[in-house]
């Protein structure tokens, strides 16, 4: 079962790759990605992830993403089968 993470990230070089690389390195498949505009300095990123084994915890993954620089906001959605693009306006508010 995939779980989705919604992240607001800055537009600096490397931030997007830093997040995606971390997700894979920490033991998660990336099933879907959606990148969208949230204003001049901010992008929204929704990632649908699936753990590679039972030992991987999405809450820990969230904390590992959150400690990266360039992350403005992060929220995790409950487990679900389909990725739903969040309301960009709501996220940027």
């Amino acid at each position: 079962m995939s779980q989705s993470i919604h992240i607001e990230i800055d537009r600096l070089e490397g931030t997007l790759l830093r997040v995606l690389g971390l997700i894979e390195r920490r033991g998660f498949h990336i099933d879907e990605i959606d990148l969208y505009d949230l204003g001049p300095d901010t992008r929204g990123l929704s990632v649908s992830v699936r753990p590679r084994d039972a030992g991987r915890n999405i809450d820990i993954l969230g904390l590992q993403i959150d400690r990266l620089y360039g992350i403005k906001r992060l929220e995790q959605a409950p487990e679900r089968a389909q990725t739903v693009r969040p309301n960009a306006e709501k996220l940027s508010a």
């Binding site: 070089e13 490397g14 390195r25 915890n57 820990i60 959150d66 620089y69």
Partner: protein, 562 residues
């Protein structure tokens, strides 16, 4: 055209000076030439190493030994990639180092230009943060932020990659600007109360002290906590020395090569108090069997460490300097538990009366640390000697045990000793290395000679990759594969060729005199010690096993001299 405007490179140098940098380690090359041009005559002390990896490790150990941010520079392409092991090393052990690399000019980036690599991309997984600088005017602000990020919270390496044209361009002078002040999180009162309650109910509490304590500069608070509570403690590899290893309640290192008393205490405890430790697999052994009867209190500055490997019953996020003094339990009677641990410590103490006439490395190392005294700092390499240092050396001060813990990078020892000695010149800094590791950065003896860095080197030579050989002996049915180094060069002659003093011992009766001679030397000196290649590190928890399943020393045969 003449101009009074500074270049980006000049801003690099002026900003480093403004940030209080007094020494940096590096190696020049094409893409970083503007910065080295600005460095000349700047007053900054630059240590020219003989390989970029040496610079990375030296900057790392300078930071570990002094508590300041280490600084390292290299050029693009191979110069930069030679830093990667050092960057990963600093990342794994949470060491604050700022790496400044040259990059090819921006118009060449992405064209497979000469000495071009995507260094920002290559290092993404092993840096705390990184920048590719596109605008020279941002250099002061970026460098200042890099220093702050390297040091704040859980420390780590930060990369600043600067294209050659950016470094060479003239800009309006800019300043670092005001940085947002970072204040370490204060521990939550309810978490402190919950921890207090657990300790007051515990019958067999045990402290598990990690490297995070001295990274937080909370050694005094940790020592005070031990004295106030009387709780026995085990240390991780990086936690050794946070509280003196001579302390009555010190049960030694835990884990794969931990002490029997330490590992027995972990197996028996009903309350494990982890302080700045991350439940690393070398410490825990089989995770499901680690501290099986214990509730866990976990102190850390990094919330991502909580519950990562072991679920904590109480997680205390925040600055240890505040959290430890805030925790003031009324201690229950744990006298039987303390007595049991002290008895185990005595019963399973290391013995140094190995049969034979050959040099017994553990005894040599114990004596070395005792003779060097309170100002002893050891910079280790990686292998059997590293574990012997952890088991047998005594450490009375924090930041005295510099070792590549998480990364386990062979080649760390010599440049690390160099960096530590430059940072703390009044200390007895000794590199303890093995013949495998030493060859990996042997060229840095030239750096010792050039700058007259009075580092002492103990080279324990068993003519093999000892720890690999030990595992092949024990776990691969003695199928020895590619571990023989019996064609090593004559290390004494090599050291002399680099301009160092050097001498060799082969017999046990020579040890004490050799240590005295080494410590008294007023120039960089190498002590080459030939040891029995069959000697192993004991105790040992087999990989994947519980810490309760320790294999022990077998002195079936005498220790031979070689």
């Amino acid at each position: 055209m003449p101009t009074n405007k500074p270049t980006g490179a000049q801003l690099v140098i002026s900003t480093l000076k403004a940030l209080g940098v007094d020494v940096l380690f590096g190696y020049p090359g094409g893409a970083i030439m503007p910065i080295y041009d600005a460095l000349a005559g700047s007053g900054l002390r630059h240590i020219l190493v003989r390989h970029e990896q040496g610079a990375s490790f030296a900057a790392d150990s300078y930071a570990r030994a002094t508590g300041r941010v280490g600084v390292c520079m290299a050029t693009s392409g191979p110069g930069a990639t030679n830093l990667i092991t050092g960057i990963a090393n600093a990342y794994m052990d949470s060491v604050p180092v700022v790496f400044i690399t040259g990059q090819v000019a921006t118009h060449l980036m992405g064209t497979d230009g000469f000495q071009e690599v995507d260094f920002l991309g290559l290092t993404l997984p092993v840096v705390k943060h990184s920048w590719l600088v596109r605008d020279a005017a941002q250099i002061p602000a970026i460098l200042a932020r890099a220093f702050a990020i390297a040091k704040e919270g859980r420390p780590g390496p930060v990369l600043v990659d600067i294209p050659k044209d950016v470094a060479a361009s003239f800009v309006e002078a800019s300043e670092m600007g005001e940085l947002p002040a970072w204040t370490p999180a204060a521990p939550k009162a309810d978490a402190i109360e919950a921890a207090k309650a657990l300790i007051e109910q515990a019958k067999k509490p045990l402290l598990y002290i990690g490297g995070g304590v001295h990274m937080a500069d909370a050694d005094a608070e940790m020592r005070d906590f031990v004295e106030r509570t009387g709780i026995p403690f085990v240390s991780t590899l990086k936690g050794l020395g946070t509280v003196s290893t001579y302390h009555d309640l010190h049960l030694g290192m835990l884990g794969m090569h931990g002490t029997r008393a330490g590992n027995m205490a972990v197996q028996e405890t009903d309350l494990l108090i982890a302080v700045g430790a991350r439940f690393d697999d070398r410490a825990t052994g089989k995770l499901s069997a680690f501290a099986p009867h214990a509730k866990v209190i976990h102190f850390d500055i990094d919330p991502a460490e909580f519950h990562k490997n072991r679920r904590a019953d109480v997680a205390i996020l925040g600055d240890l300097k505040q959290a430890l003094p805030a925790l003031r339990p009324t201690m229950p009677d744990i006298s039987d538990w303390v007595k049991l641990n002290k008895a185990n410590k005595w019963q399973h103490r290391f013995k140094y009366d190995a049969p034979g006439k050959g040099v017994y490395a553990p005894a040599l190392l114990k004596s070395l640390s005792e003779k060097a005294g309170k100002k002893f700092i050891v910079a280790c390499d990686v292998g059997q000697h590293q574990m012997w240092v952890a088991q047998h050396c005594e450490f009375e001060q924090n930041r005295a045990h510099l070792t590549s813990g998480g990364s386990g990078a062979m080649g760390y020892g010599l440049p690390a000793g160099m960096g530590a000695k430059l940072g703390l010149p009044d200390h007895h800094v000794v590199t303890v290395s093995g013949d495998g590791s030493f060859m990996m950065n042997i060229q840095e003896m030239a750096t010792l000679r050039r700058y007259g860095i009075n580092l002492k080197i103990v080279l324990l030579d068993n003519s093999s990759l000892g720890l690999v050989r030990q595992w092949q002996e024990l776990f691969y049915e003695e199928n020895y594969s590619e571990i023989d180094l019996s064609d090593n060069p004559d290390f004494v002659e090599v050291a002399k060729a680099f301009g160092l003093s050097a001498f060799r011992i082969t017999q046990r009766h020579e040890v004490e005199g050799a240590i005295d001679r080494l410590l008294a030397a007023d120039a960089p000196t190498l002590l080459h010690v030939l040891i029995d290649p069959r000697e192993n590190v004991w105790p040992l928890v087999p990989p994947g096993a519980s810490n309760a399943e320790m294999m022990e020393e077998r002195w079936d045969e005498p220790i031979d001299s070689y």
